[in-house]
Symmetry: C2
DNA sequence: CCATTCATGTAATCGGTTACATGATTCT
DNA sequence: AGAATCATGTAACCGATTACATGAATGG
């Protein structure tokens, strides 16, 4: 019998990806849960999403763990709000997590459908790919606009220092890579399916 | 007061993405749960994953819904197994799902980390991106090998008919697009971070 | 007048991960 | 002798989605 005494693996609450996502938003600016939710839609939502119902309890957990703290901001025309700030401990935890190894898990519903597309008349699916290509093109234009702004800002500075600007540039770069490559794939696929539909017609 | 009588929204069990993922594997060949699990790792796992603990109960649910059925295959040197087959109903459900609209949700842990990379010394993160670029390059070579084989098979056939070959080609195409574009992004980012590290050195 | 914004949450449910449990056979 | 393969599952937990609940102020 070894010295083990049925120890529970981890009594201190471990922080998950959602927690780091929120910390990543909060290190850039002090925000209320509501404001975080907005940013989890718009810039951060391009690579990570979280609804309010997930954000509020997670903020409480982060505070319990000492990674953030809040102060009450009283307002008269709007409801009072809790504004959160990352603590030194929280900042250190986030920085340490960045250097940890990252598994590469891909879960793509559209590709999952593509895998079974052979069950369906190609003439009926081709438009779905055309449409999707169009959406990616719109997203691409948006991201490229963001990137131009960020590049202008960085050129003015000379070098980034400890501001998040370089990280922002890198992040939109990922969005651009995604939108462009999947957009191209959608168009290529649409073309292939249209060709398949034509040869089907000829063959009866 | 309207005519509503607090009806539960859906008494018939609704099938989720996991169910369609399994159907998509099973329409191609009759398999045991164990064999499905293997394919959920290797070819399908490139865009959708599922462990055995998820697969076995889901197969039972699919059978209850009449979308698959199984027969017992007795073996003498190996344990007996249940081999599943998709029913006509299951095939129709899968085909219908392919034509449904698909939300575009991206959740990328590596990009989430990149968003907070400005908290860390660039000289320490650059290698992580170099490494990741290398992994994508390896995956890319693998996928391109698959594609060559599939293309050879399709050229021989002339046109795809009702076989999954064209869908396979399209699916590896997505893998290639992903591996190439994220690989390039990783290299570009590594270069940028190395440059940032150098200018940091100069500035002290 | 109705929808939206600001602001906070709870509850129920579903989907996914990790660990546990068993047992013969074959490979190193 | 020990690890891996074939074959089936269960249980506990965690993370994420959807729906519910409240209430003032502003904009169309």
């Amino acid at each position: 019998m070894p010295t083990s005494s049925a120890v529970k693996p981890d009594p201190e609450k471990r922080i998950g990806l959602l927690g780091y996502a929120l910390l990543g938003v909060l290190v850039r600016a002090d925000l209320s849960g509501y404001d975080i939710a907005r940013r989890m839609k718009e810039p951060v939502g391009f690579f990570w999403q979280a609804p309010r119902s997930q954000i509020y309890p997670e903020l409480a957990r982060l505070e319990e763990a000492g990674l953030v703290k809040h102060r009450l901001v009283r307002q008269m025309l709007r409801p009072d709000k809790r504004v959160y700030r990352v603590t030194t401990l929280g900042r250190a935890a986030l920085a340490a997590w960045v250097l940890e190894p990252t598994p590469d898990i891909v879960r793509n519903e559209f590709v999952l459908k593509a895998h079974s597309l052979w069950l369906v008349d190609p003439a009926r699916i081709a438009p779905l790919f055309r449409e999707r290509a169009h959406e990616h093109a719109k997203a691409l234009a948006l991201y490229e606009g963001f990137r131009r702004e960020l590049e202008a800002g960085l050129d003015a500075q000379g070098w980034p220092g400890d501001s998040p600007d370089l990280a922002d540039l890198i992040t939109v770069g990922a969005g651009i890579a995604y939108a462009r490559s999947f957009g191209d794939w959608c168009e290529e696929t649409a073309a292939r399916l249209e060709a398949a539909a034509r040869s089907r017609l000829r063959m009866g």
